[in-house]
């Protein structure tokens, strides 16, 4: 699903954000990516998204080999990703509803389906009442959850979340993580970048540590079935 082989990313200024970066994430996996501020976590995501291009190495996302991808294929590659950006990236001139619906519109989903799916997803992140609000009229946590709703709405095979709980209180954070876990159980690949180690620790999933642009540790999940799952799935299908 996602494969990085010997990837190096050097920014124009000379900053090397990733160096000999190797990682393989398979279909249906749930992976936490941890690391200090400036370790290269967001750069990793930006490379997956083809927002930045690798200086060296090979990246394959959902079958698209980035050394060979054509410009006109990029939108289709991106549609296979649901991304929660660290800075949200909501369109300021669209309401919450429109921001979420937009991710479906680009794939030509019929209007009828959009009208039933968007409220459902807004409900999932607890923002059914804020559908008509513009991003500037929402709190930080609300914006973050809209960004999450947008990432989920078109049921992409891969969901990538950069600090999805950075602006959200602990209870809600756990709820959201449970939601993501539940989604991964039905075959969606989920990559969560977070600095909240304790939150990650609660979920006993594969955890990748990045430091200075390299993968320094890649621990496998605890084999036992985690306790939260019964509750988690309940949340997701509510």
């Amino acid at each position: 699903m996602i494969e990085f082989k010997g990837v190096k990313k050097e920014y124009p200024g000379g900053n090397v954000a990733l160096d000999d970066f190797n990682l393989r994430i398979d279909r249906g996996e749930f992976v936490f990516v941890l690391g200090h501020s400036g370790a290269g976590k967001s750069t990793f995501l930006k490379l997956i998204l083809h927002e930045e291009m690798a200086t060296e190495g090979k990246i394959v996302v959902n079958g698209y080999d980035f050394t060979r991808i054509k410009n006109r294929q990029i939108p289709y590659m991106r549609r296979s990703l649901g991304v929660v950006f660290q800075d949200f990236r909501l369109i300021p001139t669209m309401t919450a509803y429109e921001n979420v619906a937009f991710a479906m519109r680009v794939t030509n989903v019929p209007e009828r389906r959009i009208r039933s799916r968007v409220p459902y997803v807004l409900n999932l992140v607890g923002l059914q009442d804020r559908a008509r609000s513009y991003p500037a009229e929402m709190s930080g946590g609300e914006q973050q959850r809209i960004a999450l709703a947008r990432a989920l709405v078109h049921s992409p095979p891969i969901i990538i979340a950069d600090e999805p709980t950075g602006n959200i209180d602990p209870e809600l954070s756990v709820e959201i993580m449970e939601l993501l876990c539940a989604i991964s159980k039905v075959g969606t690949t989920v990559v969560v970048v977070t600095h909240e180690q304790e939150l990650a620790a609660q979920f006993h999933q594969r955890t990748v540590y990045i430091d200075k642009g390299r993968v320094v540790s890649d621990s496998c999940p605890v084999p036992s079935r985690p306790t939260f799952l019964a509750h988690g799935t309940g949340e997701a299908s509510r």
Partner: protein
């Protein structure tokens, strides 16, 4: 793209106009201003051109008939002149007319000091030629026309205001080049202005465009609302500019027609009629407004689509 998607994007583009009020206003202002300038320049150019034409039409070519021309010759000459191309009208001036004209003209000089100089030249003594006063259509071809006229039966010689004709032809050419040059320059300047305005407008929304790309929108999907928005702004501007230019032009026409006496009122008949230009003006405005607005903004987002 599906029809509902197309409908959605079109609606999106139109509602963007209302959403980006400040920028829509500003863009419409700029586009309208530029169209008005170009339109006014074009109308001025048209009118000056027509005025020069009018001056040209005032200048007659005189076709002198042989001194012994009888009525039959005169008639056949008249027919022949009618067959020569590039001629607008011709008036016959008989020997008597010519003498009377000359007399009244001479008696006007120096308080009538020479009023009687021509007494005794009437009738068969009349030394003057009968002639046709001919106005030509296209002054630039006057040489050919004169040559043709000179060859007609019964014609003695042709007196053409060739110097004046040359002057008018070059004046008209200068006015044409100058006038339409001005229109071209103003249109070019307007394009620069509009292009830059659209670039800034799009620049102010680059973040929005960027985000759409990351959500997986194709370039076409992002471009269409901009195309619709730009086209609508172009059409609105065209309508406004048409209103302004038409209003101003009708105002000038009225002012001139009311000017009453003197030189200004004589201008009235040389002014290009509003009825004969409005449809062209509106058409050109709408088409160029839509093209500039739509294509301009769709093209301006290109650099922001490269992510």
């Amino acid at each position: 793209m599906s029809i509902s998607g197309f409908r959605y994007l079109t609606k999106q583009g139109l509602s963007n106009i209302a959403r980006n009020k400040l920028m829509s206003f500003a863009s419409i202002g700029v586009l309208t201003a530029c169209l008005v300038i170009t339109g006014v320049a074009a109308l001025m150019s048209l009118n000056v051109g027509k005025f020069v034409d009018y001056l040209g039409a005032q200048n007659k070519v005189i076709v002198y008939l042989k001194l012994d021309a009888d009525d039959a010759t005169i008639e056949s000459a008249k027919q022949a002149i009618g067959g020569v191309p590039n001629i607008l009208s011709s008036t016959y001036v008989s020997k008597e007319d010519a003498l009377n004209e000359t007399k009244s003209w001479i008696s006007g000089y120096d308080n009538g000091a020479y009023a009687n100089v021509l007494d005794g030249y009437e009738g068969d003594n009349n030394p003057l030629y009968a002639s046709f006063r001919v106005t030509v259509d296209d002054l630039s071809k006057i040489k050919d026309t004169v040559a043709e006229l000179a060859k007609l039966p019964g014609v003695d010689f042709v007196d053409a205001p060739s110097d004046l004709a040359g002057t008018l032809v070059s004046l008209k050419r200068a006015v044409n080049i100058g006038g339409w040059g001005l229109v071209a320059v103003l249109a070019a300047v307007s394009l620069v202005v509009i292009h830059n305005t659209i670039r800034i407008t799009v620049f102010a929304r680059r973040k929005e465009i960027n985000i759409m790309k990351f959500v997986g929108a194709t370039n076409g999907f992002i471009r269409l609302p901009f195309l619709v928005e730009g086209t609508a702004i172009g059409l609105i501007s065209a309508a406004l500019a048409f209103g302004v230019v038409s209003g101003a032009y009708i105002g000038v026409l009225e002012a001139v027609s009311r000017a009453g006496t003197g030189w200004l009122s004589s201008l009235y008949f040389t002014i290009v009629d509003y009825n004969s230009v409005w449809s062209l003006l509106l058409g050109v405005f709408l088409v160029s407004g839509a093209l500039i607005g739509g294509v301009g903004s769709a093209a301006s987002i290109r650099r922001h689509l490269k992510v």
